[in-house]
Symmetry: C2
Subunit: 136 residues, 2 copies
DNA sequence: TTCACCTGGTTTCATATTGAAACCAGGTTT
DNA sequence: AAACCTGGTTTCAATATGAAACCAGGTGAA
């Protein structure tokens, strides 16, 4: 018999629960729980920017991935894509109000990564050394 | 000429900057900016748990991925792996103090995903309908 | 006008990463 | 003995990624 287990966390009042395999919130987490999406959202938090500006600001992102990430974020209603009828045309990306509600959380994660880097590198050295010694 | 651009955000006081390609903080973001890692950390926020308990609580995670994620989190000093010398042996995973400092941010992201699901699904429907109409 | 480079992408392809599933050694229960 | 638990590793096919080429169109200098 499968023992009923208490749920791992209190489901959100809206009824979604990311712990459930079939929950649509999983798809959202797939999207925003992603290195590039977090960086793009955090970049747009500062200001509206054009495609190639974002690309240059986020070192190492490829055009393909950036266009995919932006397309997905636009579909999710987090980012607004605006084509300006100038000559030549310019395309800018900005956060929607919904996107702005997300960036606080995204920024926390990024800031955490930066401010705890040293501790993590230290932990990694300890771990690797222990492994090396264990295999002697 | 390459116009010097103001940096996309204020670098962290520790000197790390996730926007730089070569920054070690990128490796951290690679690790924690990941759906499964976020879910595992959030699960462990509730309490210490054994391997197969975590696996069952997080619907859909494979054994391989879970063991990889846990191994990485352990190496980063975020999760503590304890082998209990019982018969049979039990292995439990818990958050380290460092890991606990991260879970607040992780939980925010997960909670955001749950509480804004409906809005995102709505945006997706609008987007898809617009696309469908445009291609008529 | 031609060369070179900008724009915002898409396509191609080789190489990771992932997920599903099998497998493993050991132990417990029936 | 058969079946299931433990905590994983291995295998393999499908998928995602990154680097690079390519594209159409525009700009600016020689």
């Amino acid at each position: 018999m499968v023992t009923p287990r208490k749920p791992p966390h209190t489901p959100d009042p809206t009824g979604f629960n990311v712990y459930a395999r079939e929950c649509p919130a999983r798809m959202v987490l797939d999207r925003i729980g992603d290195k590039w999406a977090l960086l793009v959202l955090d970049r747009l938090r500062r200001d509206t920017a054009r495609f190639n500006v974002i690309r240059r600001d986020i070192g190492g992102i490829s055009q393909k991935v950036l266009s995919q990430v932006l397309k997905n974020l636009e579909r999710d209603g987090l980012v607004l894509r605006t084509v300006h009828a100038t000559v030549p045309v310019a395309v800018t990306y900005s956060l929607t109000p919904l996107g702005e509600t997300l960036t606080q959380a995204a920024a926390s994660l990024i800031h955490w990564a930066e401010s705890h880097m040293a501790q993590i590198q230290h932990a990694q050295r300890l771990y690797d050394d222990r492994l090396a010694n264990a295999s002697l």
